[in-house]
Symmetry: D2
Subunit: 357 residues, 4 copies
């Protein structure tokens, strides 16, 4: 970087200083590279440091990003004076410790999903962030996709009518996560989408699962969330499926949406279908139930990478003291559901109530 | 056309008398016409009478089948001397009464699925049939498809390895059944397939459901069956889906099968995919979990209409005193699971044990 | 509704005789049964006789339609006093002879596609029908589907803009037609759709084909029709394809349509996509070419069976002296294109001009 | 791992010098970045220089590859002493001039497809490379995919039987290429695949096309290539299609292959389908034509990026004096077909003979 020379005297336009958020990323495994790439290109931010326990990962990083310093000690990054915000993309079991330390060091924090391993940890993070006055955000990437934002607007505007159900199948042949089970890994996406789209909290959760490798976590699971309004959300997750499916339906009283994330160009299909109730002219005491079918519309979806939208949202929230869409409280709600699911799974699907706070 | 000449005198082959099963069909609504058509064309059988409460249905029937007599009184058909076997395709709530009367009249009986409304009724039918020495069979049509028979042979031969899970999605926008809920209407197909393919009885069932029309039965439901071996079967049924899906997966330790009944030509896909466990050469105490992926084979499936196969199987069982694949005991097992699911649904998914008999 | 007045004493309203078109069908092979079924149920018409050279076919017919007489002599049907209209579903080589005889006998005629084997024959049929004042219609079934009618309305209303191209793939593993080649069998559908949708006559045709069985007709072919407006239509037909495809695109300057006849519920997709021409602000002499992409709409299509619509249209045209949409002149235009394609195919794709009449 | 023992004193193995091919890449537009990335990672080679007329592109390149020098003067790169081989990814109209200069400078050359704009140019390149003893290769990427290599092995081994036809649809809504028309841009892929898979030269080509933007090149085209053996290849290319399709069929007398390049996991499907000829037992003079249908197999395909395979193949050919699969002669054959197609397109599809050399 060239040294800054003294300005010659005279009149100058006042240059407005745009604050640049200086970001440190911890973890350069599966997801970290995507975070680094998007934060590196995000307006108002720049990546200044990266920490990974693996020296090999640090070397690979340096080759790709020669100007950014690396360290194998996350604490060093957390305490660095030139780091304003810390982005954490490490195994789930380390989320709390790293995020807590960063918050205590006065840094803004964005944590990969799920935010923490336990509700207890999540509560402590939310509390610490409030106390220290820093931004805490959880990386629920799908919430920032054009498709999910469109679904939310369809619900909010009333175009779907009353939401009857949320039904999602999220299965594939994937690498086993040794860290968390398939609910904490895959169902968490649906719980986050549901939280954003429906804006209602579950009152109970039921889940069942199977672990096919002795000593390993559950790799197939089914989760049902009961919402206060009577609506049910159901999620089918599986790491041992021969085919990859990402199929989500939101059924409403007026319209219904099918969201297929693997569809390259028509991710969202809005069906003008539903139930109609008609008075039976002959037997007035009875209601006739019929079906209504109409056009299907696949609206053009904003194609921008979700993580790019999310990175700028984080920077905007920090810079302008806004509350993130997926803030700590949101992260906490999702961890609550996952924890309840874990409990239910141990009881073969017995529903577990969610304590309202 | 050549004129028929008089036979020359002399010795002739004695014409062997082939017994023809004389069948009466009760019910000419949605499914009845398919049964009539297939039994009319089945070898060794013929339809001699049809009963439907609606005189209009009888008239329509007569136009299509001028040679077969009709009646609006099912009892008349049941007691007719020229009827050997009764095929029942009426609303579920009438199954027991009609089937029981037919058995008591000494007729062989085939009943549409589900066999009865309650376990109690199913037990009485099985008992009566045994006592009277007549054949009792339930119409689990999918069991007689080429695809399901192929899946069973893959399981039996060990080609799939240990069966890890059965996962089925059976959803569409359908006419509401006022008679039974979506589990007794749609999930019953999967329970029958499972019973045939896996040959193992569930030890407990958990189910949740929603009824979106006040005063009507559940139109969306999720059912989980726990098998003794530790395997789980999961069924997603929905009458209020904007899209029609018939997607069934059977995951095994060696291979996995995807059965898509809506696929016109490649209904069954067998994936040479699975988990591999490798000894870690460096740390002997650890097992490495990896994935194996290979070819996919879509075997040619016998294309014959399932109901045609089934009709001849019924006739064969009656004529030759064989036990039907889907006999009364099988029908009873499925009714047990449905009844348990109904109980579980009232307890928001609390698992209900299946009493072993 | 006008009030019903009391009838004057004594005189009664004469019951208005609704003319019923008495139809004779010739040919009960692959397509004939569909014609019989639809004409039997069509308003204003009834099937009174059926002729097929095969006594076996006649017997099978009688079993299904006990009230309709049959004959193995088509001439008998053609000359029957109680037959007003003759529907011909026989091999193509017999179309002309049978249709001509029927017209000369004063009968209205509907002929399966293609109308005749040669332009010469088609001209004579059109001429004879005009001379005798009877209705001549060709069975271009696709023209009567909801999907094709919708495409025509999109073109007519200008919603698609200028039509740039018509591109169709119509392939499958089919039974070899010993009678006509794959162009006269399959491409004829596209030529009929094109004729109806675009309403413009081709000025030249180019075609190439292959016959893979020695001594048999072409079973793979590619046809290009050059329209006066500069538009090109291209048709890919194949009896030797391992997969069945029915994929037709109509590209317009404003919108584009994809019509997939095998898609059960979304046969038609209308894409708000196209080219945009923008003035380059920097180099005024140049036009920038860009793409516009927007929503996709799958409109609900009238689901009624095309042949039912067509049968009533024929009866309506005969009864009310209207000109059929697919009249003899239309049949002639399609035969002209097929004949030109045959010529071109012998010259390895050399384009053959269509003489304007 | 065995412990490392101390080396005995005295004699040591001489370290073998592995020659590293020093590569210069010209052009950093659409395709160049892929070439740089793959050659940078290829065994036995390294990228030492990059040239692009745009200083902006050079700057972008330097940011991504800090260690590789850039220049806005391709001649400088071509004449650099430390460059052994030149990879050209520039507009087609510059291919000949750059490749010729590189060959004359004694460099090995790999050129993006199509190799040149004219047959004349292609001949001069092939001649120059032979004269100078350098390797000339054309970048026909698809030839190096696992799918296309598998198709070739199916043809070579006789598993498909006699090849009856090649039929490809390669359409999408793409950016208009101002440089070349849709045949030189898209059909060239199929001509290269055909050349590799069938190993037979076309004897004539017929093509038709449409240009929908005044003053621009053809954006929709249909090409038919006639092979000596009687086989026909047909290619449908379109830059103005609302949907993206990459569907290629190779029909053989024994089996048939469908190659769908957009299918994520089952790109290749091998159908055990075909024609069977049976002697008619009753009329011996006639052959009965029937169909045979059997299983479908989707073999696992080598998933390695084609360009990585290709880069190493180029390095191997240069280093070990082998002839590339897609050598200059191959590039020439494809240019011959494209040139013939251009001529045919001007004559509305009149077939153009390919002069054998």
């Amino acid at each position: 970087m060239p040294a800054i020379r003294a300005r010659p005297p005279g009149r100058y336009l006042k240059i407005q200083e745009v604050p640049i958020l200086r970001i440190g990323v911890i973890g350069f495994g599966y997801w970290g590279p995507n975070l680094v790439r998007n934060f590196a290109e995000a307006k108002g931010g720049k990546v200044v440091a990266m920490a990974d326990l693996s020296a090999q990962k640090c070397t690979a990083f340096e080759r790709r990003y020669p100007g950014i310093r690396t360290t194998t000690d996350p604490r060093e990054l957390i305490n660095a004076a030139d780091v304003d915000a810390v982005v954490i993309a490490t195994p789930v079991r380390t989320h709390f410790e790293l995020a807590f330390a960063a918050i205590e060091a006065g840094k803004h924090v964005m944590v990969e999903k799920p935010m923490t391993e336990t509700v207890e940890q999540a509560l402590r993070l939310v509390d610490a962030a409030a106390r220290r006055g820093v931004t805490l955000m959880v990386d629920h990437t799908f919430v920032y996709t054009g498709a999910v934002r469109k679904i939310r607007s369809l619900v909010e505007s009333g175009e779907l009518g009353d939401v009857y159900y949320y039904d999602s199948t999220r299965i594939n042949l994937g690498l086993f996560q040794h860290d968390v089970d398939v609910i904490w890994d895959l169902a968490v996406h649906d719980l986050a989408i549901l939280d954003y789209v429906v804006g209602e909290k579950a009152t109970a959760v039921s889940a069942t699962g199977m672990a096919h490798i002795p000593g390993h976590v559950e790799n197939v699971a089914y989760l049902t969330a009961y919402m206060g309004s009577g609506m049910i959300a159901h999620v089918n997750v599986n790491w041992l499926s021969p085919v990859k499916i990402r199929h989500t339906m939101v059924g409403g009283s007026r319209k219904m949406v099918v969201y297929d994330d693997l569809e390259p160009s028509e991710k969202l299909k809005i069906y003008d279908k539903g139930i109609t109730l008609t008075d039976d002219p002959e037997r007035i005491s009875q209601m006739l139930v019929g079906y209504r079918t109409g056009d299907m519309l696949a609206p053009q979806i904003v194609g921008r990478e979700a993580l790019a939208v999310e990175a700028e949202h984080f920077i905007d929230c920090v810079t302008n003291s806004k509350t993130p869409i997926t803030d700590g409280a949101c992260g906490l709600r999702i961890v609550e559901l996952c924890e309840a699911a874990t409990k239910s799974m141990k009881m073969r699907g017995h529903p577990v109530e969610i304590v309202s706070r």
